[in-house]
Structures are given as C-alpha cells and as structure tokens.
Symmetry: C2
Subunit: 331 residues, 2 copies
C-alpha cells in the first residue's frame, strides 16, 4: 500500500454503437449481450480517492452526494477496501467537464475514474480486467471506459461475472478523423432511468430475446467496419442498432419512449441531409439527446444541421485515450 493512500484518475465517457440494454444478473450487472463503444475525448471526469480519512465523505461536482448516488460510490469503495484489506474511512471527490444530466454518459466516466483511482489509492496494481469489472459493478457501461479508442464489452458466460469486462479493440489513433457530436436537445432527467428501463424490457418485451441475439451478431460486423474506417457502413449499423434498442424499449409494458419530439425532428433531418451528401448518422441512448457519428470533414455541416434542428449545445468529440492517473488531486 502506497504512502498517503490517495490517488486521482481521469476517464472519458463512451458511446455505444452496439448497445447494452438488459441485464441477465441485476446484482452483478451482467448483460444479456456484448456491446461496442467509442471513448469520447475531450469529455472527462476526474476523481480523487483517499483512504484512511475520518468518516465517509463523497462529493460530486462540488456537492455532497446523497442517497442512492452516494451509496453506489461507497459500494465501489468497499469492494476495493475489501480487496486491499484497508480499514477506516474514505474521502471521494469527483468532477466532470460536462453537465452530468445531459445524457452524455457521465456515470460511465465517473465509475471508470472512481475504479481506477480507488484501486491506485489502495495500492493495487493497474489491471484492465479488474478495473473494468469493478467499474461494471458500479454502472454497466463504465466497464467500457477503462481503455480508450474502441472497446468491446464481452457479455461473458460465467455466473460470477469474471469473464464480463471490456477490452480495447482499436486504440484512439486508429481512426483519428472519426467524430462524435454530443447534441443536447433537452436538459433534465429522463422519466425512467436506463437501469429501471432495461429491467422492464427484459421482463416484459416479447422482442427481448430476439434483440439480444441481434445485438450480439452486430458486434463483429461493427468491428469490421471500424477496422476498415468505413463510416457509411458503420453509421448504418449504429443507426440500425439504436432503432432496435428503442424498439425493444417501446415494446415493453408499459412502453418506454425515450425519443423527444425534437429527437425525431433531428433524426429525420439527418436522413434527408444524407441524401444530399452529408456523411452523418445518429445513435441514441436511453434519453432524448443523440450523438451524431461523422468525420472531420463533415463535422461542421453536421453541427450546423443539429443547431438548425433544436440543438442547444453541440460538443464535438473524438476517440479518447485510456483512463489514467493524474498528480493533480481535487483535494
């Protein structure tokens, strides 16, 4: 165990092009399907963890964490404390360079940074697999934010989840011209969070098993398109998979519709713009704010289109690097 039991880590969020929607084990956060994502720079979350403090102090974006949010952070801390056999309290502070409720996958970056920082503070060696599993237990998609570039989260088969973690397929340098525009159409929390939403889909959608099988089959196809840097072919897979994820959500009982009217407006404008040469496709997680998949050459036009169709904010992202330790502690 290192000197002051303190470490700081920085991690990027990620956006899945083949999505995770549904757990086969709620407790262990084990998915029904593999998923594939791109890590998003310059969006990032910085987290400092110090063991050996008095009490348990958790501060998120400058405010004491409350309720379930605080509990989830402390669960991750307790797992690390158990591994490293550390007694006593802990202090955690975390801050992102983007708003946490805008649907930009802040919890993925937050739990990835927390996992890497907590393990380092406890003196545990850096380990992609162990960090990815630890992050997964905090928030499923966080498993894909430990490494940069393109990450594949294999669903795994074991009941204890030891084979369900993410690994890098291509690093951030593989496709430096790829761009992902984070489009904020509506701020505010969604009505039904993805945790609750995906549970409802698993339990009530008659399409669920077909969805899981279809997503699993899309993963190797998407990897091939990224290997070839074939934006159009990748865009088609990403849209198809996003529509299908939302189709499964809609087919749940009661139905889950994450599209806002403005989402449909933008998606439909994007499809029309493609007919006149704009190389841009969308993807959408469980909320109203889409990401636009495009490249360096088309990012300007794609961003303008988004602003013309209701975007309050457009953040241009590109493939980011691994979660990493930093000497600039938050306290």
């Amino acid at each position: 165990v290192s000197g002051n039991l303190k470490a700081t880590a920085i991690a990027h969020p990620n956006i899945a092009l083949v999505k995770y929607w549904g757990k086969r084990d709620e407790e262990l956060v084990l998915p029904h399907q593999s998923s594939l994502s791109i890590t998003l720079a310059p969006l990032q979350v910085t987290t400092t963890v110090q063991f050996g403090a008095k009490g348990e102090e958790v501060e998120l974006n400058g405010r004491p964490a409350q309720g379930r949010e605080r509990e989830r952070v402390l669960e991750t801390i307790r797992r690390v404390r158990g591994l490293a056999k550390l007694p006593g309290g802990v202090r955690v502070a975390s801050t992102g360079n983007f708003p946490p409720s805008a649907g930009l996958a802040s919890s993925a970056a937050a739990f990835a940074a927390l996992s890497v920082a907590a393990r380092a503070a406890a003196g545990l060696a850096f380990d992609v697999r162990a960090s990815s599993i630890l992050a997964r237990l905090g928030s499923g998609s966080a498993a894909r934010s430990i490494q940069g570039g393109t990450c594949l989260w294999r669903r795994g088969r074991r009941r204890d989840g030891t084979d369900s973690f993410a690994e890098q397929v291509f690093d951030a340098e593989h496709w430096p011209d790829l761009r992902l525009l984070a489009v904020v159409l509506e701020a505010g929390e969604k009505e039904t969070g993805s945790r609750e939403g995906m549970k409802r889909s698993v339990e009530t959608s008659p399409f669920y098993s077909a969805w899981a099988a279809d997503a699993e089959a899309e993963v190797p196809r998407a990897i091939e398109r990224i290997r070839d840097r074939d934006l159009a072919a990748l865009g088609q897979i990403a849209e198809r998979n996003a529509w299908r994820m939302h189709a499964v959500a809609m087919s749940s009982d009661p139905a889950l519709c994450y599209f806002a009217p403005a989402t449909l407006g933008l998606v439909s404008a994007l499809a029309k713009a493609r007919n006149t040469g704009l190389a841009a496709w969308f993807t959408l997680d469980a909320g109203p704010n889409p990401f636009i998949l495009t490249d360096l050459r088309h990012q300007g036009d794609a961003g303008r289109l988004a602003r013309e169709h209701g975007a309050r904010e457009v953040t241009t992202c590109k493939p980011g690097g691994d979660a990493r330790l930093s000497e600039e502690h938050l306290f």
Copy 2:
C-alpha cells in the same frame, strides 16, 4: 343479374385496436396475424358501380383515377366480373366524406364499398364472407369494413385464403358511448406506404415472428375488454399493441418511423393527462395521425387536449354500422 347492372354502397373505415402488420402472402393479401377493429361512423365512402358501360372509367373523389390506384380498383371489378360472367366495360365512381390522405383508413372504406357495390351491381347475393375476402384482396384492412361494430379478421390457415376474412364480434349498439377521435396532425402522404412498410418488416425485422405471435395473443384479450366495456383495460391493450407495431417498423432495415414529432408530443401529453383522470388512450396506424380512444364523457376534454397539442382537425367517431346499399347513386 339485376336490371341495370348498377349499384351503390356505403361503407365506414375502421381503426384496428390490435393491428395487422405483415403479409404471409403478398398476392392474396393474407396476414401473419389476426386483427381486431372498430368501424368508424360518421366517416364513410360511397361507391357506385355500373357494369355494361363502354370502356373502363374510374373516378375517385371527382377525378379520374390514375396508375396503380386505378389498377387496384379494376382488379376488384375483374374478380366480380369473372364470378358473374359479365362481359364489357364498367364505370366506377367513389367519394368519401373525409380527406383520403389524412390517414383515416380511406382505402379500407373504399374497397369495402367497392366490393359490396360491385357484387350487387353484378347481381350476386350479399355475403359477408365473400365480400370481406373480395375487399381484402383490394386492401387488407378493408376486409374489416364489411360489417359494423367490432370486427375480427381471422388470419386463417389455408393457402388459398378462403378462411381469412372478417366477421362482426359485437355490433355498433354494444358500446354506444365508445368514442374514437381521428386527430389530424399532419396532412400529406407518408414516405413509405403501409404495403411496402409491412413487407420490409416481414423481410428484415428480427422481431417479426415475436410480433405476429404477440398480436395474435392480444386479440382474445381485447375482445374480452370490449365485451366488458372496460375502457381503461382496452386502452392499455390498444396502446401496447400500437407501440409494438411501431417497434417492429422501427426494427426494420432501413428503419421505418411513422411518428412525427407532433405525434410524440400528443402521445406524451395524453399519458400525463391520464394521471389526472382523463380516460383516453391512443392508437396509431402507419402514419403520423393518431386516433384517441375515449368515451362520451371524456370526448370533449380529449379533443381539447389534441387541439392544444397541434391537432389541425379532430373528428369524433363512434362505432358505425354495416356496409349497406343505397339508392342514391353517384351517377
């Protein structure tokens, strides 16, 4: 064969609460699933057919029919001519009391009226089953507009389609307080018609077979709710089935999204209004214009809500009667 070989019929459109989306036989218009509908008064189409005319004249809403539209009418005429062994030409005129492109199922009413009129003009005896099958061959959902009230179109099993027709389950008097508000949010033709759209779903949706099985299982449940006049329980089934039909459409490749932004806005306002006591649910065919399922007591509030959320027009419908012959010919 009667005297002047001329007859006029009037038929209502219908709205399916458990929907038809996908053919197992394109040529014979045989569905993959049974469907259940309510006939809609006062919307109606009037059609006059006269055999023995010179040439083949088809006039729809005051204009000569063109291309594929004309061809479909003449195909129905030829089937009747073949049955009755009538030589020579035909004159057809048809007119509705509502705009044909507003998504109000005008083709269902049109082919039902055409089938009843053509058979009568040819001197064939009235026959629900034969008329429903004839109407089905023109436009699938027209099979459900031969009788009034609640109609069940059984998918059938035979390859020749002789067991795939609709019959009345409850007449229009069974639930006189039921109301269906036809809400026009957007005029104009949809991009992908339902004929082409459902074909794409059958061929490309990984959810297709689960959809067909699910819809089949909803039919007896919906019949029970109508029997009990249980609006809330029927509304839930109708919405669930509509969401699932649209989910299948969205999961097609390329995806089919029939929701307009305004559709989502209204659907979401409706769900909120239900929390404060409005007894109203939606259903949606392959277009942007929903129907609101409600009753006499709530029709005013439901209509106001629709107008507040972008409705250009709201037509209040209730269960209508059978397709019937009329002495008031169009020519």
